[in-house]
């Protein structure tokens, strides 16, 4: 089966798994903002520490984490090379035509690569430790203000849950259809980009037909299970923040303060020595 990290929950019994999904969602958003604010390498080191600690606490095997990075490795390398070649720095080390490699460029591309990798590592920590149901329940709960203005938040949550559930099913189906077309002589990896795109058409059409057929049966199955039977729907999975959530929030807050402090050289109180400038620029 194809590897789709999104929606691939990794079952384990850890501190992070037991956190309230809503708290995790908010913390991840805070984390994303933090990553985008980080400027210097020493602050990046703190973020790396934060992510590594988070991964260890969540008991996610290193192979899983590497797998999630693997999916973006091309993007990371691509942006790193572009940044390296086109960043306009002062200390030019090598140049040719409009391309130049500078010391600042090297640092900048390292930072951008780190930023992407950290973003993925941090956010997949959420999807690895939270069941899709937890995620959708959490989002539904966080959308509560919208419910007051008559937005059908529960329906949205069910739609999200079904979408997550069907991602692996449909990707398996794509594989099957591609194999069937290959068996009949179709080729998906030769020719130019236009030819390849055209070759995908005989895959997409059966996929859509099958998806609609599935949707039809799913609609019946939802009805058979009395979906929308009562407005007083109950909830099996209840979310109650515990002391763990308090610890997680406090821990993340401490890290954010640390990162911001490092980022601003402790509000200018610390002046790095000449030889360490690259860490703090």
């Amino acid at each position: 089966m194809r590897d789709i990290t999104l929606g691939q929950y990794y079952p384990a019994d850890s501190f992070t798994h037991k956190l309230d999904p809503r708290v995790k969602l908010v913390l991840v958003i805070a984390f994303i903002v933090m990553v985008f604010l980080v400027k210097n390498l020493i602050a990046y080191a703190a973020v790396i520490l934060c992510v590594v600690l988070g991964t260890l606490i969540s008991r996610i095997p290193i192979s899983k984490v590497l797998k999630s990075i693997k999916t973006i490795i091309f993007l990371v390398l691509f942006t790193a090379v572009l940044n390296l070649l086109f960043y306009k720095g002062d200390t030019v080390l090598w140049s040719w035509w409009r391309i130049s490699v500078s010391l600042e460029g090297i640092l900048f591309s390292i930072k951008m690569a780190l930023r992407l990798i950290l973003l993925v590592m941090g956010t997949t920590l959420l999807t690895y430790t939270t069941t899709p149901t937890g995620l959708t329940d959490g989002m539904e709960s966080l959308m509560y203000p919208l419910k007051l203005i008559k937005v059908p938040t529960h329906d949205i949550a069910v739609i999200m849950s079904i979408a997550l559930r069907f991602i692996p099913i449909l990707s398996e189906e794509v594989d099957k259809i591609m194999m069937a077309q290959k068996a009949r002589g179709a080729s998906f990896d030769t020719g130019g980009i236009v030819k390849r795109a055209k070759a995908l058409l005989p895959v997409l059409i059966p996929l859509f037909v099958s998806a609609f057929r599935r949707a039809d049966e799913l609609a019946l199955a939802l009805d058979a299970r009395c979906y929308n039977a009562t407005p007083n729907r109950t909830r099996y999975q209840i979310m109650k923040p515990t002391y763990r959530d308090l610890i997680a929030v406090a821990g993340t807050a401490a890290f954010i303060v640390l990162v911001v402090a490092l980022n601003m050289n402790f509000w200018g109180a610390y002046v790095p020595s000449e030889s360490l400038w690259w860490l703090f620029s």
Binding site: M1, G7, Y9, P11, T131, P132, T133, V158, S161, I162, L164, R165, P168, I169, R214, E217, L218, L220, A221, L222, D223, A224, R225, C226, Y227, N228, A229, T230, N232, R233, T234, R235, Y236, Q237, I238
Partner: protein, 288 residues
């Protein structure tokens, strides 16, 4: 029958009554036949099989039983509730649980226990009660150890057992399996057959199995054979299977043992009509 008896689940008598029902599919000008003049009664605790080849109207009949479609003529009542009664349609659907052909298309959540909780949640069952129901339903289909797992990695038979558990958690009176074994391999089919027969015997659940495999009908209390929208034969497996002309009319295939014994009888051998391999062996060994 009083409503009170229905609640306890121990009352004898008819659970489902189909009275002279006709239904056609209409889309614009086009009309295609569904079922015509079907009458049948399903009693509490029975294991009923609806047999028929593709297009015989058996799935339409299933859809009529839990109010997915309402009859053009005649009435369908489940424990006294008419399927036309829009006010009580969800009450009715909770009583008549339906499992479909493709288990993948029936699951809404990515973790098994959450999927099973979906039905009771929709019915507004309190949380502690849902917890109990999940435990009970998973135990009933022998899938307790998979509770916290994802359904994606399961075999076809296991997925279908989860789909059955998801319906059981709504505490239905009747379980309808609409071609639920059609997509499974022989092992998966055997799993499902074992599961539903056990539910029928041990939990007293009324089961309606819709299929075109005759060998799945051997253990039934009652069989209805459908062809071109009508019930053309009904009775115990022995009665129905030995009516070989009706079986041929319905384009169904007798189990091997029955086929052999029927042919041998036609050839003049004095053996009883056999439903199973064991009966055939016994019959053959009894020959002088």
């Amino acid at each position: 029958m009083s409503d009170k008896n229905c609640e306890t689940g121990h009352a004898e008598g008819a659970v489902i009554k189909v009275d002279n029902v006709s239904y056609d599919y209409r889309s614009g000008e086009h009309v295609s036949r569904g079922v015509r003049g079907v009458s049948l009664v399903v009693n509490r605790g029975e294991f009923v099989v609806l047999l028929g080849h593709n297009g015989s109207g058996k799935s339409t009949l299933a859809k009529l039983l839990n109010g997915f479609v309402v009859p053009d003529e005649g009435t369908v009542t489940v424990e006294g509730i008419d399927t036309r009664d829009n006010e009580r349609i969800y009450e009715l659907r909770a009583k008549v649980g339906m499992v479909f052909q493709n288990a993948d298309n029936q699951m809404v959540a990515s973790v098994i226990e959450n999927d099973i909780a979906f039905g009771p949640e929709n019915l507004g069952v309190p949380r502690e009660e849902i917890e109990k129901r999940i435990t009970w339903a998973l135990d009933a289909v022998n899938m307790s150890e998979h509770r916290k797992r994802s359904p994606n990695k399961l075999s076809g038979g296991q997925k279908q057992r989860i789909a059955i558990a998801a319906i059981l958690a709504m505490y239905p009176d009747v379980l309808i399996l609409d071609e639920s074994t059609a997509m499974l391999d022989p092992k998966g089919r055997a799993e499902i057959m074992e599961t539903i027969q056990r539910l029928n015997k041990e939990k007293g659940l009324t089961v309606i199995l819709i299929t075109h495999y005759m060998d799945e009908a051997i253990a039934a209390d009652k069989i209805f054979v459908m062809n071109e929208g009508r019930v053309i034969a009904e009775g115990t497996p022995r009665e129905v299977f030995s009516a070989t002309d009706k079986i041929a009319e319905a384009k169904l295939e007798l189990p091997v043992a029955s086929k052999i014994s029927a042919e041998l009888r036609r050839a003049g051998l004095d053996i009883p009509f056999a439903l199973t391999d064991e009966e055939l062996t016994e019959g053959l060994c009894g020959l002088k």
